[in-house]
């Protein structure tokens, strides 16, 4: 460890933060936010309110307006610019969550989606060409709790238990304008108690060395989970234009910290803790995923998989060779398989043809036999007929002779009378 040295003049590396800042501004930022909750809890409205844009509008209605049979995971990208800084914001929505009669495993598509994003990042990190590494990992998951006023539902607990190790979970109380301040307090306490009871690790705000910041962080921690109200309609209250919801009994203002915790959420999510969320995702959740995935692969112990496990220690060229060889073996295998299939098919066809040939032969024999039988029959008939004919002819001759004899007798009789 080096000693700390005091400088004797101005060197100038104090401007490093500025350089980093300028570079980041040029590069732009990415942030992926996921919203999960039953339909009708105001998720789309809250997103619109948070980023002051109409992600979901009349032309592209939010997922809640369409009824879903199964849980879908939908992504929506928006490029937001402010003060020269640009932010590529991706909102991942999960319509259909918790809406069916049977909601067992409705969290599975969400877990699969998060894992697939991690896998994409892992693959792009391990690639040879790493110039473009788009970070589409989910940095934060806002979970909307229905304002029942009692406690968490079994579905809430199940979901958070399964996702708290994969993503930063921030629970929110949705539609908080339905709770009076006292009910809200009780509800929050009850929720935090249940979260601790079930050992759910929600996103924790980091402690800093700064006194001022620590106080702010403590204030936020006391108000967890944040009770939010969303709205993008502007209403006039006391000659001030504010965003809020107009009721017959008053206007619930979205940005009034007396009314709800929306400002705290917005400040925390965008203004102060966005980078921290990304860091925690990268350093904790992603690393967990990565080590688990690679450990699983190496544990298999099969020869052709071992190479994959030692990916990080091989040089790029060797890795390319490896990949090429793999590819070639795969192709060869496929070729052999196809040939086999082809052979099999040919054999089948030949067999079929042979069969049909034998069939035809048989039929031919059959027909010949039939024909002969018929022939014999006819012969038989003919003989019978001939016999008959012969008989008839003999009969005829006999008759004729008889007739002749009788005639001559007649003649003789006539002649004989003269004697």
């Amino acid at each position: 460890m080096g000693q700390q040295k005091n400088l004797e003049g101005y060197v100038g590396f104090a401007s490093l933060p500025n350089q980093v800042y300028r570079k980041s501004v040029k590069r732009g930022f990415e942030f992926t936010l996921m919203v999960v909750g039953e339909s009708g809890l105001g998720k789309s409205t809250l997103i619109n309110s948070l980023f002051l844009t109409d992600l979901y509008s009349a032309e592209y209605p939010g997922p809640s307006h369409r009824i879903k049979k199964t849980v879908q995971v939908e992504q929506c990208k928006v490029l937001v610019k402010e003060g020269g800084v640009q932010l590529l914001l991706t909102i991942v929505d999960t319509p259909g969550f918790g809406d069916a009669v049977d909601n067992s495993n409705c969290w599975q598509p969400i877990i699969d989606h998060i894992d697939s994003k991690f896998e994409d990042y892992l693959n792009s990190e391990s690639r040879v060409n790493r110039r473009q590494m788009p970070d589409s990992r989910i940095h934060c998951c806002l979970y909307f709790i229905a304002p029942s006023g009692h406690g968490l539902k079994p579905l809430d607990i199940e979901f958070m238990k399964r996702l708290h190790e994969k993503v930063n979970v921030i629970p929110l109380i949705a539609k908080a304008d339905t709770l009076t301040p006292e009910e809200c307090q009780l509800f929050k306490k009850q929720i935090m108690r249940e979260i601790q009871e079930h050992k759910i690790k929600i996103y924790e705000f980091p402690e800093t060395d700064d006194e001022e910041e620590n106080r702010l962080v403590k204030k936020i921690k006391d108000k967890l989970p944040l009770a939010v109200v969303g709205s993008n309609t502007i209403i006039e209250v006391n000659s001030k234009r504010v965003r809020g919801r107009q009721y017959p009994w008053g206007v619930a203002e979205v940005e009034n910290s007396d009314h709800c915790d929306f400002t705290i959420l917005r400040d925390m999510l965008i203004r102060t803790h966005m980078q921290d969320l990304k860091d925690v995702t990268n350093n904790v959740h992603y690393e967990n995923y990565r080590s688990r995935k690679l450990a699983a692969v190496t544990y298999n112990g099969v020869d052709n998989n071992r190479a994959k496990g030692q990916l990080s220690t091989k040089s790029p060229l060797a890795q390319m060779e490896e990949e090429r060889r793999e590819h070639v073996t795969k192709m060869k295998k496929m070729e052999i398989e196809m040939e086999q299939v082809f052979e099999m098919k040919v054999k089948e066809k030949v067999q079929k043809l042979k069969d049909s040939e034998a069939e035809l032969q048989r039929r031919h024999e059959q027909m010949k036999k039939n024909l002969e039988a018929q022939h014999k029959e006819l012969e038989e008939k003919r003989r019978v007929f001939e016999d008959e004919r012969a008989n008839w002819e003999t009969n005829q001759r006999l008759e004729q002779q008889k007739m002749e004899a009788s005639r001559t007798l007649e003649k003789n009789k006539k002649k004989g009378k003269i004697f």
């Binding site: 009708g40 307006h65 304002p147 079994p154 339905t178 009721y247 017959p248 203002e253 009034n256």
Partner: protein
């Protein structure tokens, strides 16, 4: 006995009062002596304000939560059916009110067949009544534990009915009178509320769900007119509260938030008053009549037909053709 002549314009001769209309007075006195029975069932997910609404409706602590003091509200693992009875009285009229609560409905992760315990309960009540009726030696007044009305609480999502809601209402509208209400309506603005109601009515129609007041049981034109008005407002958007606040110098039931106080009985705020009038002030007797003359009769016919095919008059009990029930 209230005697006296009522001067009717179309009376034939002034001295021709027979006194038939005094039967109304006799019935009233008898009813007051007997008292009424009303059994209401509340169904809905936990946290929708069912118990609070019951307390508000009857302006007293009649829900199960007031009777059994539970420190923490734990969601039960299976659906339970809890029945609490109260005897309440107003202006000399006594009523035995039974509130049947169904904690655990729709709260699990897998809610398949969660309506079955409820249907079984309703049919069991019909069965009990039927057994009493068939008895050779039966009581003068059969205790009526049949469910007269089932209030179904729809969560205020603002979009449409959930599959669970549709399934439940479809099955139960055939055995009991269902009154759907939008719970915790203070979360919807007026436009959202109208949109939501329209969507719900469309879906009910599309699925063939007949909620109270059912169109086919309208007796005459006057009934139809009144009921049409009600049907246009269904489902009622209600807010419940059992706490009083000071508003404009009056003490009212309401909910106090930082941006205003919601008055429960103010029809500009929510439709609780309409629900209360429907259930208690105007249609209570009609609800009970439909339960006994239609739903119960359907059950009875089905049951007795089953009996006929299974057992051929084994105990020689002839079929009863009862003309009138005692309420």
């Amino acid at each position: 006995m209230r005697s006296g002549q009522r001067d009717k314009g179309n009376q034939k001769t002034s001295g021709d009062y027979v006194g038939i209309d005094a039967i109304l007075e006799q019935m009233r006195r008898k009813a007051m002596k007997q008292g009424f029975e009303l059994n209401i069932m509340v169904v809905g997910q936990s946290g929708l304000g069912k118990s609070t609404l019951m307390n508000t409706l009857f302006k007293s602590k009649v829900s199960r939560k007031s009777v059994l003091a539970t420190a923490q509200e734990k969601i039960p693992k299976t659906i339970e059916i809890k029945s609490i009875s109260h005897d309440i009285e107003e202006k000399g009229v006594r009523m035995k009110l039974t509130v049947i609560d169904t904690p655990g409905f729709g709260d699990q992760i897998n809610n398949e067949n969660c309506w079955q315990p409820i249907m079984k309960f309703i049919n069991d009540q019909y069965e009990a009544y039927l057994q009493e009726e068939i008895n050779i030696d039966r009581k003068k007044r059969i205790p009526d534990s049949r469910v007269h009305c089932c209030i179904y609480f729809i969560p205020p999502t603002g979009h449409c009915l959930r599959p669970l809601d549709v399934e439940f209402m479809r099955r139960l509208s055939k055995v009991v009178n269902i009154v759907p209400v939008i719970a915790k309506a203070d979360t919807l603005t007026l436009e959202e509320r109208d949109f939501f109601k329209k969507k719900i009515r469309e879906e009910l129609r599309a699925n063939g769900i007949d909620v109270y007041p059912q169109k086919e049981f309208d007796e005459d034109a006057e009934d139809r007119m009144i009921n049409e008005k009600i049907r246009e407002m269904i489902p009622f958007a209600v807010v419940g509260s059992d706490q009083e606040y000071q508003v404009n110098g009056r003490r009212l039931l309401g909910r106090k938030t930082k941006w205003g106080t919601i008055e429960v009985e103010n029809i500009a705020h929510c439709e609780f008053a309409y629900l209360r009038d429907l259930l208690i002030r105007t249609h209570m007797q009609n609800i009970k009549d439909i339960t006994s003359s239609i739903h119960y009769e359907m059950y009875r016919v089905r049951r007795l037909n089953e009996n006929n095919t299974a057992v051929s008059h084994a105990n020689g009990l002839p079929e009863h053709h009862l003309s009138a029930h005692e309420m």
